[in-house]
Amino acid sequence: MTNAPANLGEPILQARGLAKSFLGLQALQDFSASVRPGEILGIIGPNGAGKTTCFNLLTGFLAPTAGTIEFKGQDITGVPPDRIARIGIARTFQNIRVFGSLSVAENIEAAAQMRHHTSLWETLIGGPGFRRSEAEVRARAREYLAFFDLTPYAERPAASLPYGFQRRVEIARAMATRPSLLLLDEPAAGMNPAESDDLHQHILDLRTRFGLTILLVEHDMRLVMNLCERIIVLNYGEIIAQGKPEEVRADPQVIAAYLGEDHSAGGASAAPTGETGA
């Protein structure tokens, strides 16, 4: 459970030459990256740069047109998303996808049950195995509700919560599968600076407490620059820069890519705090 964010050992995730095209549109090309255990790696880029596509490839929701993905030394290219989740990669979605009419607690339970299988027969007779695993699932869900300060909302339908809370439900749900790698797609979208600081702290806590590796797609530059040890910059589906935040921030190509976009906040920090389109 404890972890020092170090770069020892094998990469936990290794992408080689990943590419995806949609009817001729090259959404991502030649994406190679190697993620070290415990690292927080940022992926940034203007709207439509291919960040979400990259996440969809890594989590099996899209099949790559080319390239391979290795997770913990195992080739997971083309593995369906539910199995990828079971192997230990969890994610959140840019356009929130909570189970809207289920309660917040049920949202988390549905994820917590991934590691507690009961047979149909045991379930029907309501035997001790069923009761034990239900109790465990519920207890674990309560743990995550508490960790994400969601306990007061446990019984509310997820769709009835404000936007920022729904994002938190999504992260809690992803974490309840007990992943070793977490992919966050614009978790700070729609949050004010205070909420975003809160999120920052939460992500750090997650890493230390669960020994997590994190990939972060985010437009909130303050969050990305402060949180990530390393950043990959995408533009039109291609990696145009990567390195430490201060290196990336100073890269002329990155500045050009962002200024080329019609963003207003570009000036001082070189990279804008732009909002997202989706």
Binding site: P81, D82, A85, V98, A110, T118, T123, L124
Partner: protein, 346 residues
């Protein structure tokens, strides 16, 4: 009270079951034929709507073909329970292996053969559902509705053309009247119990999760097909049981009995009660059957035949427009909390 929470939790359902048993016994003994018929009808519809809720409401995969499984269950079990000699005269062209099967055996006075025939028919129908589901459950939205409707049509065409087994479009009669209040309500309770258990389990959560959002469900390790198939197959099992109960209640029927009319009626019950709510389905069945019965009497007096169907259809449309989630949505009226103080519910 010094009862343990477990006991107190069981108290509500137990009280309900005892109350039901008492009411059924009174109706049975009193020989009130009208009420007996009505309650048998209600029980059969209860099984139909609760199992449809499992397949459609829990998973959101809207199948219109379930009554096809009911037809198969009805014909299948009726074929099995026909007494051997009658079978020979009635269906002379029956294949030998079927002609030799007979399920009209008893254990003392208990018609064990009826139970066995019902289960055998339902298991076979479940296998059919598994095959159909493997193909159709991959679809979603309107495609499932259209494809499963196609299944309903196919079942009917097969029944009409399988003359040797079903007498085609002619009435299939001579079925022994095994079904009574006890049979129907025993099966209804089993159905309620199983569907309730599934709802409050990993299987139910997986069904609801993939109904709410397929991508999100997959992102937490829930594959789409297993929960859908489970719901579809278990739903088909109990639908076939309802078919068998119906066959041995009405004792003569033709393929027409299992078509759009019935499909529409069951779906109305489901939508009135709420997709995903088991107790809602019970309420939906009671309301629709009660209303249909009342309207039928108005028809008899006013001679406006067809009125009841029109009114049911209008109610259906109004609910779709103004209260799409039905009376209960997916919430439950929890019997197990009836005798508990607020705090200890969890």
């Amino acid at each position: 009270m010094s009862l343990t929470p477990d006991l107190r939790r069981a108290a509500g359902p137990l009280a309900a079951i005892l109350g039901l048993a008492l009411a059924l016994t009174i109706v049975q003994v009193s020989g009130l034929a009208f009420w007996q018929g009505l309650l048998i009808n209600l029980g059969i519809f209860l099984i139909l709507v609760v199992s449809l809720n499992l397949s459609n409401g829990f998973t959101g995969v809207f199948s219109l073909g379930h009554v096809g499984f009911m037809a198969l269950g009805a014909y299948g079990s009726a074929l099995l329970t026909l007494p051997l000699r009658e079978k020979h005269d009635y269906l002379p062209k029956l294949p030998a292996w079927l002609a030799g099967l007979h399920f009209d055996f008893h254990l003392g006075a208990f018609p064990l053969g009826f139970l066995a025939a019902t289960i055998v028919a339902a298991v076979v129908v479940s296998l059919v559902a598994l095959l159909v589901g493997l193909v159709l459950m991959r679809l979603s939205g309107h495609f499932v509705a259209v494809a499963t409707l196609g299944f309903l049509v196919i079942v009917r065409v097969v029944l009409i053309n399988a003359d040797d087994l079903t007498r085609g479009s002619r009435t299939f009669s001579n079925v022994t009247a095994y079904t009574d209040l006890g049979w129907v309500w025993a099966w209804a309770l089993v159905t309620l119990y199983v569907v309730w258990r599934i709802k409050r389990s990993q299987f139910g959560r997986a069904m609801f999760a993939q109904r709410e959002d397929r991508w999100a469900a997959q992102s937490i390790g829930i594959a789409l097909m297993p929960p859908r198939l489970l719901a579809f197959v278990v739903g088909a099992f109990f639908t076939a049981v309802a078919g068998s109960l119906y066959a041995h209640f009405i004792t003569s029927f033709s393929p027409n009995a299992f078509y759009f009319d019935l499909t529409f009626r069951v779906i109305t019950m489901l939508v009135v009660g709420g997709m995903g709510s088991v107790s809602g389905s019970v309420i939906g069945a009671v309301l629709v059957i009660g209303l249909a019965e009342a309207l039928r009497r108005i028809e008899d007096v006013t001679l406006l035949y067809g009125l009841s169907q029109i009114i049911l259809a209008v109610i259906f449309i109004l609910i779709i427009i103004f209260r799409r989630e039905g009376l209960l949505g997916q919430r439950e009226i929890a019997l197990d909390r009836l005798f508990m103080k607020g705090g200890e519910a969890e």
